[in-house]
Symmetry: C2
Subunit: 322 residues, 2 copies
């Protein structure tokens, strides 16, 4: 029944956009589907991959609505098509800064200056990488950064977990509900995890073997299936192969917030963006949703849900602007 | 790669369930997909329709991931299958009360007493109905209760809006972005909407005609397409047909919280359940998600996103219980 609208506008044809999203992952695409359906002119600005982390994930088992799971690329294509159907415009490029001009925000971008009445920051967060051979090649097919997302694929299997901080210990313990055995590789000679977590880790001695002073050097696969990790004991210099079905790497999160360095938009202690119950940041008219938001669950369903909630809050904000 | 688990348990076979959800709409089904995937035993208790309001909605255009939209029944079937795939158990019946027993909650239900370590309230809210001929028959096919959801289906069409409160006026104004003309039918001789909104309504005189003292008696269709509304002026007794393409009814929300009357679980001024940033109510271990939560957007994507977030919070709660 809806008259679909072609995306005929480009970034510069609008004097002031109602909404510019920074990022075009699940949160921004879901917000855009809501706003454009209500004739709020919307430009999505993406410096990387449209669909974000979802697009580069092989298989997604836990996005509600797909009983057998869905390929990450299919889901992100769907999200893009759905937003474009109602008139969302997507442009590739990078936003370098946001300045509050009162009546609008000014975005300095690689495509020139862009004006927006409201801004949605949905740039996501990246998992920190080890930067070793095999890590990128087997991403999401043996190499993982999210236990909640991919742990269930390893029922009855052996795993390697890399990291010595809170999240590494927490997620290693969590993964024992699936894996028969876990080798936890810690680069330093002690844990950085909290006392409480280290204490808890002791209860899992039979399932988790901790290796200190151990670097993770390479992830090796045969016929595209991960078989082992090459590691080195930094004290003895001895190299060792650790047989495994998969590798989970928990060495931190890198929120994509570099472009905010000259603003006063408030971040939490790990660099995620703070927001109120309306998903608005401390710069009026600038909202945040998805993996870059403080409190984010790093789950696609949370990101799309927040995108939709943000769209309704942005609509209210734009209405009150008039 | 995941070994799917058949739903072999029933409500009474577990001495204490890890999680019981009250309701089995999109929020509860999404939460259950997360919890069961992590071997948290989960029972969903539903007194009405599995899939909730989504299941009885003809066509859903704005659930992220379905670029052409999706039939409500298909989406809710998908959500059910996905939860059941990982071992969620669904039982039909009604929960009459929740009592906090310290180590667990006791639910009095039509299937007897059920014990749960954690509870997710996801009973949703119903839109209040006029109870007139044609209203149920043409639900979601000419008769609507959500402008954000269905307004876009009426681009360039004529609409009737029923109600005299804040939401009726707000949504009538919102619907002017689609409809060419709106007849607003108000039962009383004045608005209950706020002064601010009434003032704003004046700016839409050319698009919204307000009819006071006007009851809405019947919604009439021809060949399954709504053609007009039969109304009566309660002062003059004169009946009148109002030609329209669709009817939006905004006479209030009825949150499904009757079973909470003997608890101290805090509600807001319209009877929706209050929660903190972890979606936990003021009864520890009792969480809330979806349309029955104070602050809910009444959108499916928000409900599934909250269901997933609630599941992660419930996992943390259960972990800390040990």
């Amino acid at each position: 029944m809806v008259k679909d609208k072609p995306a005929v506008m480009d970034a510069t044809s609008h004097k002031i956009w109602d909404l510019v999203t920074i990022g075009a992952g699940p949160a921004a695409l879901s917000a855009a589907l809501y706003t454009t359906r209500e004739d709020i002119t919307t430009l999505l600005f993406e410096k990387g991959v449209i669909g974000g982390l979802a697009a580069i994930t092989d298989w997604i088992d836990n996005y509600p609505g797909f009983p057998k799971g869905v390929a990450g690329l299919e889901l992100s294509d769907n999200l893009r098509l759905q937003a474009e159907r109602f008139g969302a415009v997507i442009e590739l490029g990078e936003v370098m800064s946001i300045t509050d001009k009162g009546t609008h925000k000014l975005l300095a971008t690689t495509s020139g200056d862009i004006k927006a009445r409201a801004v949605l920051i949905a740039t996501g967060s990246d998992y920190k990488k080890l930067g070793i051979p095999g890590e990128a090649e087997y991403f999401a097919r043996g190499v993982h950064y999210c236990a909640t997302c991919d742990g269930a694929f390893y029922r009855g299997k052996k795993l390697v977990v890399v990291g010595g901080g809170n999240s590494a210990v927490q997620e290693a313990i969590f993964l024992t509900r699936y894996a028969t055995h876990i080798d936890l590789l810690v680069r330093g000679d002690s844990m950085r995890a909290s006392e409480v977590l280290q204490h808890e880790l002791n209860d899992y001695k039979d399932k988790i073997s901790v290796h200190f002073n151990t670097t993770t050097d390479e992830i090796v696969a045969k016929d595209n299936v991960v078989t082992h990790v090459v590691s080195t004991n930094s004290k003895t210099g001895k190299q060792k192969n650790i047989i495994t079905d998969g590798v989970f790497i928990f060495i931190g999160l890198r929120p994509n917030t570099g472009f905010l360095k000259d603003t006063k938009i408030a971040l939490d202690e790990i660099g995620l963006i703070k927001s109120d119950s309306k998903l608005e940041t401390n710069m009026p008219g600038v909202f945040v949703a998805g993996d870059v938001r403080s409190g984010a669950t790093m789950q696609i369903a949370s990101a799309t849900g927040e995108g939709d909630t943000a769209a309704l809050m942005i609509r209210e904000f734009l209405h009150d602007l008039k």
